[in-house]
Amino acid sequence: MHPAPSVILFTTLSGLGFGLLTFLGLGYPGVTGWVAFVFYAIAYALAVGGLLASTFHLGRPERALKAFSQWKTSWLSREGLCAVAALMVMGLFALGAIFLQQDWRLLGILGAALSLATVFTTSMIYTQLKTIPRWNMALTPVMFLSVSLAGGALLAGKESWAIWLLLLAGAVQLAYWGKGDGAFAASGTTMKTATGLGGNLGAKQSGATVRAFEPPHTGSNYLLREFVYVVGRKHAFKLRAIALTLGFALPILFLALPMENLLIKHLMAGFAVLSHMIGVAVSRWLFFAQAEHVVGLYYGKR
């Protein structure tokens, strides 16, 4: 898949934002007033910024509101609704915390649940696609949720949880890659099933092989631009190492280092967040760039 900056930004930022909102809704940290304002400002900037970024890949963004109508079947529609609901509920909760010093617990829990649901629905947009075996796995939502929670914990300053959640998310990330690498083959979709050729030429020819010859047009097209993106194996390995290091290992290291000085501790936490964000962005780049759409089979490409 084409690793469009808009979708990478969207999933990275909004995942982090809704992760933070989840923790804030649960009361971690239970802040009020100006401090709460700063936390919520960061959470909303990330979540809303991510959502806005996602509209850049729309052909007709001015019609985006229509996307809320099909929640019965469409994960994208559900995600939109969840996001709006989460932002509204958490907005109310934030108003209480910032201006009224109130902790409306039930509202907070509902907001946290909606925030997590938003991340889940986002992940389901990808997970539902049988056409992209690397996404069409139970591990995809687990990966999205674990990363979101780890990032949320990190931003929320829940360092002790963050370390464990980062460890978990890193492990899930590794598992996701591991399983993802075999997903296309495991899906059973091949050029033979795509074309019906090679196996259907009579029993005598069942051992036939099929290869794509000329593409339909020598000119490019939307499908090739959108779905066919080739990442070199070495390049991918390097990027995975970077994603794992920056996204999970370094933040854990930054958090785990015993620090007495509060300033340095905060600085280290800041580094951890920055490192995590870059790492997740790299992981998300790979998430798209390495995702092979079955339509590539018709072009002899994956």
Binding site: R211, F213, P216, T218
Partner: protein, 941 residues
Amino acid sequence: MTFQQPRVETSPKVSDEIRQTTCYMCACRCGINVHMKDGKVAYIEGNRDHPVNKGVLCAKGSAGIMQVNAPSRLKAPLKRVGPRGSGEFEEISWDEALEIAAGWLEPIRKDDPSKLAFFTGRDQSQSFTGFWAQNFGTCNYAAHGGFCSVNMATAGIYTMGGAFWEFGQPDWDHTKLFMLFGVAEDHDSNPIKMGLGKIKARGARVIGVNPIRSGYNAIADDWVGITPGTDGLFILALVHELMKAGKIDLDYLSRYTNAPVLVNQDPNSPDKGLFLRDDHGTPLVINRKTGKLAPFDMKGVRPDLGGSFKMGDITHVSVFQLMAERYLKDEYSPEAVAERCGIPAKRIRAIAAELARVAFDEAFELDQEWTDFRGETHSKMIGRPVAMHAMRGVSAHANGFQTCRALHVLQILLGTVEAPGGFRFKPPYPKPVEAHPAPHCRVTPNKPLDGPHLGFVHGPEHLALKSDGSPARIDKAFTWENPMSSHGLMHMVISNAHAGDPYKIDTLFMYMANMSWNSSMNTGGVIDMLTDKGEDGEYKIPRIIYSDAYSSEMVAYADLILPDTTYLERHDCISMLDRPICEADGAADAIRWPVIEPDRDVRGFQTVLVQLANKMKLPGFTAEDGNAKWQDYADYIVNHERKPGIGPLAGFRGPDGDKSGRGEPNPEQLDKYIKNGGFFVEHIPAEASYFKPWNRAYQDWAVDLGLYDSPQPYLFQLYVEPMRKFQLAAEGHGERQPPEHLRQRIKDTMDPLPIWYETDQQGNEGFTVNALTQRPMAMYHSWGTQNAWLRQLHGRNPLYLPTKLMRKHDLNDGDWARVSSPHGEITVPVMEMAALNDNTVWTWNAIGKRKGTWALEENAPEATKGFLLNHLIHELLPPKGDGLRWANSDPITGQAAWFDLKVKIEKAGAPEDFTESQPALEPIKSPVGTGPKDLTWKVGK
């Protein structure tokens, strides 16, 4: 559950009006419905009533809308202001353009009309352009057949009075085995596809003989990936097998062919190899009923295939005996030819067996009585459901003529020509060679030529030679170098004119022929010749006038450009005098008419020729009172009479428009055509629909329609006597004698019975890989590239290599290969193709473009990745050290031997090592600029 679906308008208005005309996106000439909205072209589809395409339409046809709006269209007449090749022009008025042209041409006419060489390319009005040239008086006229498929056309007409091409067709409705040889994917394109569809729907077998398994060959049930240039050998092996097994149609051979005709066998006679004839010149056979000599056409005669006759000391034996003696020899056995053809002997035999099985075991009868030319009535029509078709693939070799002959002989031996289920002629064919004119070349200042330029020679007496024996024509057509060059040799014109051999010319006038690019062998050389100057500082070809509708590569090399219209803006007639749109079941012709008016200062080329003729008051165009007969081409189409009552269009003649074929000119004729969908068709009666060369009902019908003036029954010429006459000359008989250096070649190649010979490989040492081109079905010549839709399909052309050669040279898709021939070298991207002869490479023709042409941006893939194989092909063979120019062509017809190309391949680099195919020529300045960036083409609201 109820669904709230949007309401879709399922009956939108399709268009304001449908205008029916004839397509010109290729040479196929399908009928089209042009849907108009607000006076603009909105959508083009096939015309269901049309005899050629019956409603279907190919990609090119449907893309016509993008041709009519192409930014490459020339806008106004142009006068060259920079050096040739620079592309520097200034726009001028038509008055000035005609003034300039007439100013060049009139002095030539008064002095020596042959100083004008007038050659037209993809011309569909040859009967008109030929008429113009004849009335101008030059002998130097032809269209592009010489480098297209003249071998096929000429071999067909000499052998059986008609050819494949679009002049005949398989009996798609009855054939059970269809064998397709070397057909590029563009000629007669929709009818072949429709026919294949019919065959496939019946589950009948298709055998494809072609080194490349693409297009039609991709759906062949059996593919014979033959070595290029060996088709003749393969065919003669089939002949060998079939004759040996007696699986030949003896009845058909004895009745309808010259197999029983007696041939003089006296080794010393000046008539050796000629037919025994009676006092009227009619060939004689032995009548089996009497055992005596009889004219072949005598009523009740039963010609004896095995006949022989001794007249005095001179033995005469039948053609069939000569054939048996030759083709039963072991040198034609499958085993003997297998390796050279690249086809296992077992496979050849299997194909021969299948031909025999289908022709004879699956023979069938049509319950249709008919009467033959001898007056004998047959109660049934016997079907032989084996059909064949071939085209440029077998034709464009230096042994192509004999190969095409061999193929026709194979068809005839099986009795499948004009039999139900076999191959059928389309009117005006069948037409024996004697019914065609002979070539004419006598030039007289200020007078028309003494007759039509092109035709069919019957012997040395018809060669176009001057009294000193030198060639009369600039292209050396109809000379000892290529005696049967019935279509002329357009590919030799520039080379000969530049060399002043056989003489110098003054003005080269060309139409729709991209000679400085894909329509020439040796593209770079031709560009040099067009721009070369003599010691006097003048161009060696002093003046060049060119007419084209588009900004092609050739434009920059002309001095005066006469911009043509697109096909929807013009009048045309697809005439029975020319290459009509007939089908086997009917005679048909068609018109084009301006369904839209040009939005530029352009004129239809034929109208410009009329205007030029009127300006020069050419005879033929000028009435006795000195006034012009016709104002424009439409006027000519309606009112010209070639013979009394016979004009360019056969339909709706006579004052009331109710006469077909023969009748007075009808001023309403074009309107009648338009009302009838742009065409006219006259169906052939059922009893006349098969066995046409010998069928009385057909012959009478053809005379009524004006195709002949009298019935013309004839025999198929398995043995072509005119060829023997050239051999006799080479053996020293007769007054007209060939030059010494050609004697042996004439003796060797002009065999009156089909032979196969290896094409000249001298100088080709080390170049062993066959290199071919073919045209994609979605592109026609260079035209597709300017079309925004079609160029997305084929915007570049890799060189396709078989898997074996890819591995041998360590090549992967996208790598660059250096491809060389004795003549040149190119560096091009490669792509693997498994379904390809192991020792053959190929590419799509004419995708590569010169920078600055066709209104493309200079970095268009056609101009960077695209390439021409033409750079590797020379119009001459490598020098033999004898100081002579030996043409790279068939020694019989002069057909350009494109497909004899042999190359060497080396890896040049990885994809990133080159950015452009080589050679990369300098850009030309575009006279039309480039096109718009984006297109959202919608005419209606």
